[in-house]
């Protein structure tokens, strides 16, 4: 679902983040408040302009008084909340999550068209992932290069579903979806037909631009050449929700 349009009469709450006091609209999420105030919280599935998915778990934060960690993207602010965004435990968990993403599929940065422009790679650097401590699964995944303009490489997909959501919520085509369970989970076009044979794809390329890695890229790009432009999304999202 797309994020709800801001209500005109929403109450304001006060809360603490990393020892500093903040006030926020009660309908805001923790990650929105943090982004507004330049408090860095990593995330891969969250994207301003798309609905909340809560899949990557990189935006986990600690709420004092609560035993469990909560995802900043899917947690609304509340009066008196005391949040910690960057504890040693969170850093450890985030690094492990990123390592697991690298181990799950074949992310070989050095030969990737998104090398140097990849959100996963950037996050790995931020999290200090200089090596992966779990064994790589090294499963051979397919590349769907059937589309005239774009290419899908399942080896580099982290299942953030940004493509699924942008196609459904912004473009309105709903070409993308998710099929399978667990390690067999895949993003698919139409009913698992090759992308080039999709009858619903409009070829707009929004999915490619929002993809955080080299999973969805333009044809004709070589190593390191795929630079994505995501500025369009908040603008389109606001216009769509204003309709």
């Amino acid at each position: 679902m797309p994020p709800p349009a801001p209500q005109p009469n929403v109450r304001v709450v006060t809360l603490t983040i990393d020892g500093k006091d903040f006030s926020a609209r009660a309908d805001e999420t923790v990650i929105e408040l943090c982004r507004e105030n330049k408090i860095p919280i990593p995330s891969l599935c969250y994207m301003d302009g798309l609905s909340i998915w809560g899949a990557c778990r990189l935006c986990l934060v600690e709420v004092v008084g609560q035993g469990r960690l909560v995802a900043a993207c899917s947690t609304r602010v509340a009066e008196g909340m005391n949040i910690r965004t960057n504890t040693e435990r969170l850093q450890r968990y985030r690094r492990t999550i990123v390592e697991l993403l690298f181990a799950e599929r074949n992310h070989v940065c050095s030969v990737c068209v998104s090398n140097g422009h990849c959100e996963l790679q950037w996050l790995a650097q931020k999290c200090g992932v200089d090596h992966v401590r779990v064994p790589y699964r090294q499963v051979r995944n397919e590349v769907d290069s059937s589309h005239e303009m774009f290419r899908l490489d399942h080896n580099r997909c982290i299942l953030c579903t940004r493509c699924v959501r942008v196609c459904d919520e912004i473009e309105g085509a709903h070409t993308w979806d998710v099929m399978g369970r667990g390690s067999d989970c895949r993003v698919i076009t139409d009913l698992a037909r090759p992308w080039g044979e999709s009858e619903t794809c409009t070829g707009c390329g929004k999915c490619v631009q929002v993809c955080p890695t080299g999973a969805l890229v333009k044809q004709g790009t070589s190593a390191g050449e795929m630079v994505k432009d995501q500025h369009f999304l908040p603008i389109l999202a606001r216009r769509r929700h204003a309709q």
């Binding site: 068209v113 769907d144 290069s145 790009t221 070589s222 190593a223 390191g224």
Partner: protein, 475 residues
């Protein structure tokens, strides 16, 4: 009784190998084999990948000569696109290739081989290395390090990084050359040329001291294959294939590189992961040929640059008639090529078109098979790909420069073993001469075998029954 002698430091070759010498009843050498024992599998695991990834993927074959793979791979991709790349892009690629040849030849001559030549075959192995050279002749060692640095710096200025650059792309290069970069490279070249000429002059005085090695280091007759320009001159990037026989007669000439399969067949042996390319019309294993600097200079009518042409004329005088057959003279040929590379880079950089912004042809794949051939420092490098309708790789064949020399290297080891090995016991000097003949070819075994591991060199002596009677290892 078997014994193992471990000699430090690690032997000076790129990659890892084993040599076995088969002895007869009287202790004489009956057979000599050069083994690459590990497998990397680039040709297999590239299958299924988009062809545009191939330059970056295959560049990882090697950290010494990634530029060579980048160029051959991009040429294969150009062929898949069916484009003629812009002339400026071709010149820029040529400059990069020449910089690569400069740095790689400098590595081979100064870092890997000069310890033998300066310190002696039988000198203490503990000091027979570049550090020993630094002590013996600091100026020469400094020259070598600087010359290699100049080659690497040129690659970095052009492509942004020294190793595994991605600046060369299918259809040309990613970015045009700027005036600042051109000036930066031009500033480096005079110093490089001075070093190259100085080293060449010095090596000429050394050659007469190695008459014995010259006559035993891989002198058996073989053919020579290389690229040449349409005029038959020295060529490293494009051109046509030429093969000369051991007497210097041209047996194949102006063969388009896309027809390489008419000339080159590939055999496999169960004792090595390196393939055994051979000259197809002569069959296997008779069709032995050599590639690399020696072959290129033997095949070239001229270099086309002033100092290199003088050096080439002197090179041809190393032997009374016919092509230069001793593999010991690979070292000589390398120094001539460094001079040529630096002179040619300067000429290309002074070309008025070199700053042209049109450096990339854009197209989709327009055929399902692409072949790219260029001259790597060690010889002719061939990349051959097939793709499906979606541009995904279905088949890869890489014929690596070192691989072409495989049969010749096996011959050379046999020859050195015949000349120097005493079947009753092994000596360090013998080990080093066997190594040194391999080193003449400057084999890049990591490229050729697609292998990695921790076994630099092992020599085994076997009796007639195949039992190991003696063994020497290094590393």
């Amino acid at each position: 009784m078997s014994r193992t002698i471990t000699i430090e430091p690690v032997t000076r070759i790129e990659g890892h190998a084993r040599i076995t010498l088969q002895l007869g009843d009287q202790g004489e050498v009956e057979d000599a084999r050069f083994h690459l024992t590990q497998f990397r599998g680039f040709e297999k695991f590239c299958e299924g990948r988009p062809y545009r990834e191939m330059p970056a993927l295959t560049a990882r074959t090697c950290g010494i000569c990634p530029v060579s793979h980048v160029l051959a791979s991009n040429k294969a991709c150009d062929h898949l696109l069916s484009v003629t790349i812009p002339p400026t892009a071709e010149k820029l690629r040529r400059i990069m290739n020449l910089a690569q040849i400069t740095q790689s030849h400098a590595l081979s001559f100064f870092h890997l081989s000069s310890p033998d030549l300066l310190l002696g075959w039988d000198s203490d192995p503990a000091t027979r290395n570049i550090f020993g050279v630094m002590r013996q002749d600091p100026a020469l060692a400094k020259d070598g390090i600087r010359l290699r640095q100049i080659g690497q710096m040129i690659i970095e200025i052009l492509a942004g990084k020294k190793i595994h650059p991605t600046w060369v792309v299918p259809g040309g290069v990613a970015e045009a050359l700027t005036q600042e970069k051109r000036e930066a490279i031009l500033k480096l070249l005079p110093e490089g040329l001075e070093i190259a000429k100085r080293t060449y002059g010095f090596f000429k005085t050394l050659v007469p001291k190695f008459k014995d090695e010259t006559s035993h280091f891989g002198t058996r007759p073989t053919m020579f294959m290389s690229l040449v320009t349409p005029k038959g001159n020295l060529e490293h990037y494009d051109g046509f294939l030429r093969i000369k026989d051991a007497q210097g007669r041209i047996v194949e000439d102006m063969v388009p590189t896309v027809d390489y399969q008419r000339l080159v067949g590939e055999a496999v042996e169960d004792f090595s992961y390196m393939k055994f390319p051979y000259y197809k019309p002569m069959g296997y294993p008779k069709g032995v040929y050599r590639v690399g600097p020696l072959a290129r200079l033997n095949n070239a009518e001229a270099c086309g640059t002033p100092y290199a042409d003088v050096a080439l004329a002197e090179f041809h005088m190393l032997q009374e008639y016919g092509p230069i057959t001793s593999s010991f003279h690979y070292h000589y040929a390398r120094l001539v090529e460094i001079i040529f590379a630096i002179e040619m880079m300067e000429r290309l950089l002074k070309d008025p078109d070199i700053l042209d912004h049109r450096v990339r042809a854009r197209a989709r794949s327009n055929r399902d098979e692409g072949i790219g051939v260029s001259e790597a420092p060690r010889g002719t490098l061939m990349h051959h790909y097939r793709i499906d309708d979606d541009g995904l790789i279905t088949w890869v064949n890489l014929i690596i420069a070192t691989g072409h020399n495989n049969l010749a290297m096996n011959q050379a080891i046999r020859q050195v073993a015949d000349a120097y090995v005493d079947g009753n016991h092994l000596q360090e000097g013998m080990l080093n001469r066997v190594e040194a003949v391999i080193r003449c070819y400057d084999p890049c075994l990591s490229c050729a075998s697609h292998a990695f591991g921790q076994m630099p060199l092992l020599i085994e002596l076997k009796d007639a029954a195949g039992q190991v009677v003696d063994r020497l290892t290094r590393g």
